[in-house]
């Protein structure tokens, strides 16, 4: 019996001490971690919201691509939406934030979390990459395949057209969502 207590108790003791220590460390780091998360989100929103203000996030249920949206307000009037989208890239899902005008035209896009290949799909993280989508969605269709791009643009995505098509598909779905669900 003594032995049981010796063995079990000692392991329990080590565990418990460890747990307390971790609890304390957690208490120190938890606020920092939360702050990091907030900062990341607001930085991302800043990147696409332009001069407008973003409201609270609303979650969207039952949509495969659109996960949530923020209403944009400029000078007191509604200036469109920022959508949180999930696209499928070469190496799994990609998180996309895109700002739309109320008529569904794309104003700004940013690629967030993704695991695309550096040098290929990851190039889409660069703001310049998204230029081909900007201004499409309402008057012009979102470019969906290479044939709809200029030769220069097509060369730039050579070897990474899956990423390109994945983003395009997500943006188009977002645009449609704005037009059909939010625009009214």
């Amino acid at each position: 019996m003594n032995d049981v207590v010796n063995v079990g108790g000692k392991l329990a003791l080590i565990c418990a001490v460890a747990a307390i220590a971790l609890g304390l460390v957690n208490a120190v780091t938890a606020p920092a971690i939360d702050k990091v998360k907030e900062q990341q989100l607001s930085a991302a929103l800043d990147a696409v919201r332009g001069t407008a203000e973003a409201g609270e996030e609303r979650l969207v249920e039952g949509e495969p691509i659109v996960d949530g949206y923020y209403a944009l307000v400029q000078d007191g009037t509604s200036a469109g939406y920022i959508l949180r989208l999930t696209g499928t890239g070469y190496a799994g899902d990609m998180e996309i934030l895109a700002a739309y005008r109320q008529d569904g035209e794309i104003k700004a896009v940013a690629l967030m979390n993704n695991s695309e290949t550096p040098g290929l799909g990851k190039e889409a993280e660069k703001p310049a990459y998204m230029e081909k989508y900007i201004g499409t969605g309402a008057g012009h269709p979102v470019p969906m395949n290479k044939q709809q791009l200029t030769q220069e643009e097509a060369d730039a995505i050579s070897g990474a057209s899956i990423t390109f098509m994945g983003i395009a598909q997500a943006l188009k779905a977002g645009s449609d969502y704005v037009k059909e669900q939010l625009g009214k």
């Binding site: 565990c15 747990a19 957690n26 070469y90 190496a91 899956i162």
Partner: protein
């Protein structure tokens, strides 16, 4: 994701050895001959299956309700270590022949990245209990596949005159590298196209 999807993911697309780099120490260490490689593969499969189920329970029943996510690492590894040790003792007692086949590998598995790795990945992917189990099982299968193929190739290398400095571990790594090159065919996009 469907169960088939999980299986394909962990056997091919995210093969623990060839794309995720989890469990390399036993992969290199125990792949010299087919027999022990297969033994190791089955042992790992067994442990990953049980461990991912057990850690799922810990996560859902203790850590999440109590808001103790930061204790994930410590509780998971504790469970795994205890599980493996228990398993070793039980097998040794109940089936000496199985112990003879698996026993020597079991202690190695405690510190096998694959086991903790699948537990953490299953939690991060928000799998339910059965999905966690299937994920653990298929991660083990992926390991088994990789180590079996590796061992047959290494057995073949035993009868070739591989340059001296490259013999043994280096050639195992390079073989693994070439296998990984071929396994790059199995990417996420393939998985998505295949199962929608």
């Amino acid at each position: 994701m469907s169960y088939v999807g999980i299986i394909i993911t962990f056997v091919f697309v995210e093969n623990f050895i060839l794309t995720k780099f989890l469990g390399l120490c036993p992969f290199i260490g125990v792949s010299k001959n087919t027999e022990s490689a297969v033994g190791m593969g089955f042992a790992v499969t067994f442990v990953t299956s049980v461990a991912s189920l057990a850690t799922w329970a810990i996560q859902k029943l203790i850590l999440q309700p109590l808001g103790l996510a930061f204790l994930q690492t410590i509780t998971f590894i504790l469970v795994i270590a205890a599980l493996v040790q228990l398993l070793e003792m039980v097998i040794q007692k109940i089936s000496p022949s199985l112990y003879k086949a698996l026993g020597i590998y079991l202690p190695l598995i405690t510190t096998n990245c694959a086991v903790l790795g699948i537990a953490l990945i299953a939690v991060r992917s928000n799998y339910n209990a059965l999905e966690s189990f299937v994920a653990g099982f298929s991660a083990g299968l992926g390991f088994l596949l990789a180590i079996l193929l590796m061992s047959t190739i290494r057995e073949r290398m035993n009868t070739e005159w591989v340059p001296k400095p490259l013999r043994g571990v280096p050639i195992a790594f390079i073989t693994g590298g070439l296998m990984a090159l071929a396994f790059m065919a199995f990417d996420k996009a393939l998985l998505r196209n295949l199962i929608g």
